[in-house]
């Protein structure tokens, strides 16, 4: 599903050039659950942003579903992204002004799904995440675990092929964290590819494969059994 080759990304300020990704190569197959680990500043988030087409690489190739996207402009990337990729963040990133229902509905609005269909699909996914009873609440009225479940609901409502999760349990206690990991595992078992950045060895154990990064390069790959 994903194949990147010799990917490079620099950050420049006026005097300093920082290399975030240094000729990084890797691939992820459809249906995999991959964890990316590494210390702060190793390039994990940069990699996730490029994989999610939020950012573009300076050099190298990124093939997504057999399409070379490294040189895509923002509009094309956005189009590809909204139909194929769902995001889950450490800090949930729900919109405070919108209710649970409306937050989950948002991606469907932007992909032009009809109103009746939207209601059906949002209710379906809220039901699955067991937060249907909170549908008219605002994010601030929910616990962290509930918020993350809303975020996951939003990530999957469009039935994406790939979910990118950036430390999804980072802001949660261990019990809520385990619930979130179970949810992701379920999704993966139903066929969704998942790439997750994490600091937690415990969470990483839910994955099939761990990619360890250091200074913008792959240093080790563990296959989980």
């Amino acid at each position: 599903m994903i194949k990147i080759t010799n990917l490079e990304k620099f950050y420049r300020t006026e005097e300093v050039e920082t290399i975030a990704l240094n000729k990084l190569s890797m691939h992820v197959d459809t249906g995999e659950f991959v964890a990316i680990m590494g210390p702060s500043g190793c390039g994990k988030s940069t990699l996730l942003n490029i994989l999610g087409m939020l950012d573009d690489p300076d050099e190298g190739s990124y093939v997504f579903n057999d399409i070379e996207v490294a040189h895509f402009n923002e509009r094309k990337r956005a189009d590809l992204r909204k139909h194929n990729i769902g995001f889950v963040f450490q800090s949930f990133n729900l919109i405070d002004e919108l209710t649970v229902f409306e937050n989950v509905e948002l991606p469907l609005i932007y992909t032009g799904v009809s109103a009746a269909e939207r209601v059906k699909r949002v209710e379906e996914v809220l039901d699955k995440m067991q937060i249907m009873h909170r549908r008219n609440h605002y994010p601030q009225q929910l616990s962290g675990g509930q918020q993350q479940r809303v975020a996951i609901a939003r990530a999957v409502v469009n039935k994406p092929k790939l979910i990118l999760a950036d430390e999804p349990t980072g802001n949660l206690d261990s019990s809520n964290g385990n619930d979130v990991m179970e949810l992701l595992t379920d999704l993966n078992e139903q066929g969704t590819t998942i790439i997750m950045v994490t600091h937690s060895e415990h969470d990483a154990r839910y994955s099939h494969r761990i990619i360890r990064l250091l200074d913008g390069q792959t240093v080790m790959e563990n296959i989980m059994v």
């Binding site: 999610g52 939020l54 956005a78 992204r81 405070d96 002004e97 609005i109 932007y110 939003r154």
Partner: protein
């Protein structure tokens, strides 16, 4: 989708309602000012537009060259010219004439009660054929058949006869009875003909003497309109008119005739005077600019506050982009937000406008209303709304929707230098406008108080004046007239509370600027030197009332010793180049050979717009009809009551009407006072709007620099130090605005001061004062926010990173 935009927009507004209300308040104040101005401007540009066939209606204009450099232009023509044109020019479909009754007020007597009517006119029988008029009751046929008829406007009919039908009622004017034959709708706000009362010209010409006067080819009294067949060659028609009038004029006189289209009349600027409604095009353009500026200033607030808050919304924008929103979606959303704010502002605008309309009407002397036949008014409102939405939404929407989702997550640095400097530029623009207006207000105020405090060179306090209308003495022989006038003077002098009476020829001491030339001679006058002279025809008591200062010589002696002698002012002595000593020089004035018996110090006998020109005082009572009465201090009411009863005994058919010279003096600066009021109004609006913007911006800056403030505080910065750190930025903006506004104001206000012959100079302290006021206002606005920020607990701001 649309519903979603407005739902989100409404929630976003509600969540940030304090900023929202700042936006709405500023916008609606600006929009209301702009709407009022645009209503007026629209009205000025559509004068007489709704007259049918306006393009075929022309007015005869007369140009008379009185010297090489001076031509008098009149809107009127001889009565006979219209008659002849109708008879001999086949291209003329209709001719109509009007004689506005504007040189003195008309007094109506209704059930023995007097009413003063300012907007009366004599019209001929074709008037209502040429000019569309809506009759409420009655018709023009009866009006045209009977000379002693009246047509009233609806509002005056209501005023005089309440709810009764006015048609058939009798109104007495002077000593004749007139019958109301019809009531017509009030003239619309964009009509040149604001008449409330019409009388047939036939009524005036029922008097044989009047008719004889009117039929003279030298009497240019009648405003004459010609309606032509469509497609008429106006140049040829003008030539035809000239050939009609030519045989009736001197061979060598310099009369020229032109035709002016009805629609071109409103902005005429070359007329000597006018009985119709006119305006200056320049003034209208200035108001268009002011209106647009006020609206822009108000929109700047929205743009600034919205873009300033952009970083706070960066997260929302980023999330939406990540879950699939395109730029178009976000752009539309921000336009929707601006639309929500603007529509709310429009609601408030309508409330402000309708509340302000009555005073606006009396100020502009027009008759606007929000309800009656005002589709254009709503168009103006909607237009203003759309303009506001466009001004408000384009830049913020482009900016906000252009965020890269990543940069938003990476931290607050969304807004880099480029944008903040634009925002500062806009604040500078707002304050430049405000400071300019403040300087304008100070300058106008200083000039007006200069004018009012300036010693005019004579005493005008406690002097009331009233006029003996020529109509009251009609038909009397000269000696009879003199007897009536002198009896009245003696009667008044007998009254208690009266300290002196003088009978004079001019309206009041402010001579209305009537000049004559070629009527004086003295030793050494070059043959071709005929300066304009203002004659003060006075009696011997005049100077007891007004106490003019003398530089040499004396006032006239009582009796008739000085009958042929004159007193002149300093300017006259200098301009005439009289031999010294001035007193005793031979002087011939209006055919009387005498000597100069005195020279008075120059005094401002006109408004200070005009330079002091030569004045000659003469003892001459023949045409005098104005009584000046010096009243004892604190006895005004009693004196007026006594005066009125004397008047009633002598002239029961005419109401007693009087003025005090002080008030007359204030009246000549009425237009200037209006300019001052207007300027203050604009200044207040501009300052309110600018401060609202500054307030919001300061709040935002304080919020954004929270971390910096926290760090500085931890490191030991004092609260005072922090407040000045935060405020200084805004004060600098205001100072930059001052630097831009000062030369601009210097230039424009000097142009305005050129209108005065006697004026103040623009001193440095005016600019300092305006700058000081602006800085003070800015500091007061910003201060509260910065103090709040400086007092905040640093732990809070540092943790929230």
């Amino acid at each position: 989708m649309l519903k979603n935009y407005f739902k989100t927009a409404w929630r976003s507004f509600w969540k940030h309602r304090s900023t929202g209300f700042i936006n709405i308040a500023g916008l609606s104040v600006g929009m209301a000012a702009a709407v009022l101005i645009f209503i007026w401007v629209h009205n000025e540009f559509t004068f007489d537009d709704d007259q049918p066939d306006a393009e075929n209606v022309y007015r005869i204009t007369s140009h008379l060259a009185i010297s090489k450099n001076e031509t008098w232009v009149w809107e009127s023509a001889p009565y006979q010219l219209g008659l002849e044109a109708k008879k001999t020019m086949p291209e003329v479909v209709a001719v109509t004439r009007v004689l506005p009754f504007h040189w003195e007020p008309m007094y109506l007597s209704i059930n023995n009660e007097f009413f003063k009517e300012e907007n009366a006119a004599y019209i001929d029988e074709s008037w209502f054929n040429v000019f569309k008029t809506n009759f409420v009751s009655g018709n023009a046929i009866a009006f045209n058949q009977n000379p002693f008829s009246i047509i009233l406007s609806e509002s005056k009919a209501k005023k005089y006869f309440a709810n009764q039908d006015a048609v058939g009622k009798i109104i007495r004017i002077d000593s004749a009875n007139y019958q109301v034959q019809a009531v017509v709708k009030d003239a619309p706000a964009n009509s040149s003909f604001k008449f409330d009362l019409f009388i047939p010209i036939a009524a005036r010409q029922a008097d044989a003497q009047e008719k004889k006067n009117d039929m003279s080819w030298g009497n240019f009294s009648y405003i004459t309109f010609l309606k032509f067949k469509p497609g008429t060659n106006i140049k040829q028609a003008t030539e035809n008119l000239k050939s009609i009038i030519k045989p009736h004029r001197d061979k060598n006189d310099n009369l020229n005739i032109t035709l002016r289209n009805l629609k071109a009349m409103h902005f005429e600027s070359d007329l000597q005077n006018s009985g119709l409604v006119h305006a200056e095009k320049k003034v209208v353009y200035i108001f268009v600019i002011l209106g647009a500026l006020l609206l822009i200033i108000a929109c700047i607030n929205y743009v600034n506050l919205t873009t300033a808050r952009a970083s706070l919304r960066a997260k929302e924008v980023s999330i939406k982009k990540i879950v699939g929103a395109g730029r178009g979606h976000l752009f539309n959303q921000f336009v929707a937000e601006s639309a929500v704010i603007s529509v709310l502002a429009l609601v408030l605008t309508v409330i402000i406008v309708s509340a302000a309309l009555p005073s606006f009407n009396s100020f502009t002397n027009r008759n606007f209303s929000l309800t009656t036949g005002s589709a254009y008014l709503w168009l103006i409102m909607i237009g203003t709304l759309l303009l506001t939405i466009i001004l408000n939404s384009i830049y913020p929407a482009v900016l906000l929707s252009s965020f890269k989702p990543l940069s938003a997550f990476r931290g607050g640095s969304v807004m880099k230098i480029k944008d903040t400097s634009l925002r500062k530029g806009l604040v500078v623009l707002q304050f430049t406008f405000s400071i300019f207006l403040i300087i304008g207000v100070i300058t106008i105020y200083k000039q007006l108080s200069f004018v009012q405090s300036q010693n005019p060179g004579y005493d005008r306090s406690q002097i009331m004046s009233f006029n003996l209308s020529w109509k009251l003495l009609k038909g009397m022989k000269d000696d009879q007239k003199a007897a009536v006038k002198s009896t009245l003077k003696q009667a008044i002098l007998q009254e208690p509370f009266v300290n002196g009476v003088s009978l004079v020829g001019m309206e009041s001491i402010q001579s209305n600027g009537s000049f004559s030339s070629g009527s004086a001679d003295w030793e050494g006058r070059p043959k071709d030197f005929n300066p304009s002279i203002t004659y003060f025809n006075v009696d011997g008591d005049y100077n007891k009332l007004v106490n003019i200062n003398f530089t040499s010589g004396r006032w006239f002696f009582p009796g008739s010793v000085d009958k042929r002698n004159v007193i002149i002012n300093e300017t006259a002595a200098k301009q005439f180049n009289l031999h010294k000593p001035y007193v005793g020089q031979r002087f011939i004035a209006q055919g009387d050979t005498g000597v100069v018996v005195g020279v008075v110090k120059d005094f401002n006998f006109q408004s200070m717009h005009a330079k002091i020109t030569p004045v000659v005082f003469k003892l001459d009572q023949q045409w005098s009809s104005n009584y000046l009465v010096k009243v004892a201090p604190h006895k005004q009411a009693q004196a007026i009551a006594r005066m009125e009863s004397i008047w009633k005994q002598n002239f029961p058919d005419q109401p007693f009407s009087y003025q005090f010279l002080d008030q007359e003096f204030d009246k000549i600066y009425r237009e200037d006072a209006k300019a001052s009021t207007l300027m203050s109004g604009f200044a207040v609006v501009a300052i309110i709007i600018s401060c609202l913007g500054l307030f919001g911006l300061a709040a935002f800056t304080a919020e954004q620099r929270g971390k910096e403030i926290g760090i500085r505080k931890v490191l030991g910065a004092s609260i005072a130090g922090l407040v000045s750190l935060l405020s200084v930025e805004f004060v600098v903006l205001v100072l930059v605005a001052l630097v831009i506004a000062a030369p601009l104001a210097y230039w424009l206000m000097n142009l305005w001061l050129q209108n005065f012959a006697y004026r103040i100079s623009m001193q440095w302290w005016i600019f300092m004062a305006a700058g000081f006021v602006a800085v003070l206002i800015a500091f007061a606005t910003v201060g509260l926010q910065t103090i709040k920020a400086a007092m905040a607990n640093p732990v809070k701001s540092l943790r929230s990173e």
